[in-house]
């Protein structure tokens, strides 16, 4: 026996174990985070490089700058602060870049806090020498590190592309600052809710609201934009007389949110949220009697949240479209530009068509999310007790798919109807616009179904890779966002189902591509279901 020298008695601090947990988080995210960081690093530098080719001189830049004063483009991407290459790059990419790093931060922080807690893994790590605040700190440190990497790579990439180092640094810091703030916001959300899904939903809602506030602020009431973290990023004005003090606002907000998260974490019990547990019904309601009603019970909250979001989204952008008078259509370059963007008959229609295109991608995110619930239920082990009853696999899967596919149609209809109503109220034709825009929005549905089909096919045939459905959605978004600008070859663009959708309103409605998309979605779904019927469940 050897004599053990007892370590000097010391009180382990509330941060004890943070380093170990951070290492664990980095180990778990060793693929995920580099992918996020890589994409975030490529976007600004790639845009700058492409714009350098597209707009070789001041004259070209000034020409396009005139186009960009169009209110609909200002609402979507923000204002162009100066007719320079750097400012143009900022205009194009900063809003998307901030959304990207915000999502990265939210997912990272929630994954290493509430997800682990909900799964019961905190009990294991928490029983070691880990302080009360160690998990939250480790998650925030990990997210902060990822954002720092984005800042460095963005600044270097832009500077190497030939833009001014000061502006490059400003754009990078605007991005990273917003990412850090959303990490802190996710930290708060993770303390509030008991489920990781709800925490992510809450933080993403804040992100969506700040996009809307920014859009509304840039389109009209400027002060609204000052309420939005996304607005702050743009108002730092990289390459256009940087206002560095705006970074202070972001930092202060991040500190406040961080302090709130720590205060909440210090008060609550492990596993608990802020709201006390309420007892539920001791008996199931009569309707809860089959796989379909179970799917309804499990999916309804997600769908309800999305419906509320889409109503707000449609209403805001519909009324923004009302502010775009057709009077502006004197400048031919604007009409040319917008024709290329998709529309043909007037600015408002072009704007609405562009917005509906974005909405299609957004709603496809719901379609993927609702579809992947299949895999979520399976890997959580909740499929097993269902399949031990007479309920068949296919019926169970169809219950969830009904929500994924039907919900997609409902969401597009809601977005179209609210946009139509809001736009119609400004033009004095609410009924007509409601019908017209609902129809225009519904045209996007089959393209979103294709992505749900990709999810189902992966679930049935390659269940371990179902998450690739998100990559497919990301690729579609990327093609829509930067595809044309970055000169991605056209066959790649043809891979996105959204490329085939007629740009309504304002273009003729062609039914053939829509029918084809329905067929593709049906084939993918059928392939997935066939695979699922044949494979082992896990």
């Amino acid at each position: 026996m050897t004599t053990l020298t007892a370590p000097a008695p010391q009180r382990a601090g509330t941060l004890a174990g943070t380093l170990a947990l951070t290492r664990l988080a980095l180990r778990l995210d060793r693929v995920r985070l580099p992918v996020w960081i890589g994409v975030a690093a490529i976007l600004p530098a790639g845009t700058a490089a492409q714009y350098t080719k597209l707009y070789p001189d001041d004259q070209a830049i000034r020409a396009v700058a005139g186009v960009l004063t169009n209110p609909s483009l200002v609402a979507i991407n923000g204002p162009l602060y100066r007719p320079t290459l750097g400012a143009l790059t900022t205009w194009k990419i900063l809003a998307s870049e901030v959304i990207l790093v915000a999502l990265m931060s939210i997912f990272t922080v929630v994954r290493h806090t509430r997800t682990d807690e909900e799964a019961g893994r905190f009990e294991l790590t928490g029983a070691g020498v880990t302080g009360r605040f160690a998990p939250l700190t480790a998650a925030l440190v990990t997210a902060a590190g990822a954002n720092a990497a984005v800042v460095v790579l963005d600044a270097l990439g832009l500077a190497v592309s030939g833009l001014s180092p000061t502006g490059s640094l400003a754009l990078a810091l605007a991005t990273g600052g917003a990412g850090l703030l959303f990490a802190a916001i996710a930290g708060v959300a993770a303390q509030l809710t008991e489920s990781a899904r709800a925490a992510t939903g809450l933080a993403v809602t804040v992100l969506g609201l700040s996009y809307l506030l920014r859009a509304a602020g840039d389109a009209g009431a400027s002060w609204l934009g000052w309420l939005s973290p996304l607005g702050w990023a743009l108002r730092l004005r990289p390459f256009a007389g940087e206002r560095w003090w705006v970074l202070g606002m972001t930092a202060a907000a991040a500190l406040v949110c961080g302090a709130v998260a720590y205060a909440l974490a210090g008060r609550r019990d492990l596993g608990a949220g802020l709201l006390p547990q309420r007892p539920g019904p001791a008996e199931a309601a009569p309707y809860l009697r089959g796989t379909f009603s179970l799917a309804w019970r499990l999916q309804r909250a997600l769908l309800a949240g999305w419906i509320a979001g889409m109503a707000l989204w449609g209403g805001t952008l519909g009324s923004a479209a009302g502010g775009i008078g057709d009077a502006i259509v004197t400048n031919h370059s604007i009409t040319d530009m917008l024709t290329r963007l998709g529309g043909r008959k007037g600015l408002a229609d072009a704007f609405l068509a562009a917005v509906i295109g974005i909405t299609g991608i957004l709603v496809a995110a719901y379609a993927v999310q609702a579809t992947l619930r299949l895999r979520g239920e399976e890997s959580a082990g909740r499929l097993e007790p269902i399949l031990a009853t007479p309920a068949g696999r296919i019926r169970w899967a169809l219950g969830h798919l009904a929500f994924a596919l039907g919900g997609t149609a409902v969401l597009m209809a809601v977005a179209g109807a609210t946009a139509g109503l809001a736009y119609g109220l400004t033009t004095g034709d609410p009924g007509g616009q409601l019908l017209r825009l609902t129809g225009s929005a519904l045209v996007q549905v089959p393209a979103a179904w294709v992505l749900a089909g990709v999810g189902t096919a992966l679930f049935g045939l390659l269940p371990r890779f179902t998450a690739l459905a998100w990559a497919a959605l990301g690729a579609c978004a990327l093609v829509l966002e930067v595809g044309a600008l970055l000169g991605v070859s056209s066959w790649i663009q043809d891979l996105s189902p959204f490329g085939y959708v007629p740009k309504l309103p304002g273009s003729p409605l062609s039914t053939a591509p829509i029918l084809w998309l329905v067929v593709v979605a049906a084939v993918l779904t059928a392939a997935g279901l066939t695979g699922f019927r044949r494979r082992d469940t896990t």
Partner: protein, 296 residues
């Protein structure tokens, strides 16, 4: 049909790992059949194949004479299942889950449901995320026991239950046995198996190593003998079926195969027996021997 479950030569591989390697299992109607084996022996894999969740690579598995992969819905009307690792929907209450699973099976007896909830002291109004492991187990148990299924497949159903609840579980299974229904009980708790099971199958590394009634299994096992003799014994260790002989002067201790018990006792009485204790094999020894076989 006298056999509820009839499995022969079942093989299942996961990649390179061979989870089942020619497993046999027969469960007769109306018996409580113990299904035993060390962790990772393939118990849950077998059960999952019987439930049609996994597809066997080769061999045959019959459930009520039907194919568990193809006749899933028909067969599942006649069985209830408690998984080893119960995960439930976090935002549903225990009561809702019990009703849902019961209704999926074609209906639930409200009176039996109420009685079981009371007997297992379960709060059905709690959200599943708030249940402890034992309480989640109770939810799954109540859902299965409240059904009038002909066959109950229970995969380590008492892991996480306190002794009081375990006793309650035993009396529930005893009632089921009296009803003439069939139970396949996978378990590590040997007292439970001894109290409930008529026949047992012991598996190891994906194969059945022993099957039969507990008495039959005991018969094949060894008895430990300790004796004090008048004079030191000679030649004891050389007898067939005698193992681990320790002789200290006139004291002797050895294990003997039950088939050789007669010969061994006759041998030692020739040295004058002053005292003798014999202990029959405990189930633990029986299983430890089977579990550990081949590992040494």
């Amino acid at each position: 049909m006298n056999e509820v479950i009839s499995v022969t030569g079942l093989v299942k591989t996961f990649g390179r790992a061979r989870a089942l390697d020619g497993l046999d299992l027969t469960v007769h109607t109306g018996e409580v059949h113990g299904f035993l084996g060390p962790n990772g022996a393939g118990k849950s894999t077998t059960i999952r194949i019987l439930l049609g969740l996994l597809r066997a690579d080769s061999g045959s598995a019959l459930l009520f004479g039907g194919d568990p992969w193809h006749d899933t819905a028909t067969l599942h009307r006649r069985l209830a299942y408690v998984p080893g690792d119960v995960t439930l929907w976090p935002n549903l209450t225990g009561g809702e889950v019990i009703d849902l699973l019961g209704r999926l099976r074609g209906g639930i007896d409200a009176k039996r449901r109420a009685t079981l909830i009371e007997r297992f002291d379960l709060d059905p109004a709690k959200k599943c995320r708030a249940y402890s492991k034992g309480n989640r187990q109770k939810v799954a148990l109540v859902a299965a026991l409240a059904s009038d299924a002909e066959l109950l497949i229970l995969d380590e159903p008492t892991s996480g239950l306190d002794p009081l609840m375990e006793a309650m579980f035993r009396s529930c299974v005893a009632e089921i046995r009296e009803d003439g229904r069939t139970v396949l009980l996978s378990s590590h708790i040997l007292g439970e198996v001894e109290a409930l099971c008529g026949r047992v199958s012991i598996i190891r590394a994906g194969r059945t190593v022993d099957t039969g009634t507990l008495d039959e299994l005991r018969h094949l096992a060894r008895t430990s003998i300790r004796a004090e003799l008048a004079e030191p014994p000679r030649g004891l260790a050389d007898l067939p079926g005698v193992h681990d002989t320790v002789v200290e002067g006139t004291r002797v201790a050895f294990d003997v195969d039950n088939t050789s018990l007669d010969v061994a006792l006759k041998h030692i009485t020739s040295f004058g027996v002053r005292s003798l204790t014999s202990s029959p094999p405990t189930l633990e020894e029986l299983f430890l021997r089977h579990y550990a076989d081949g590992e040494a």
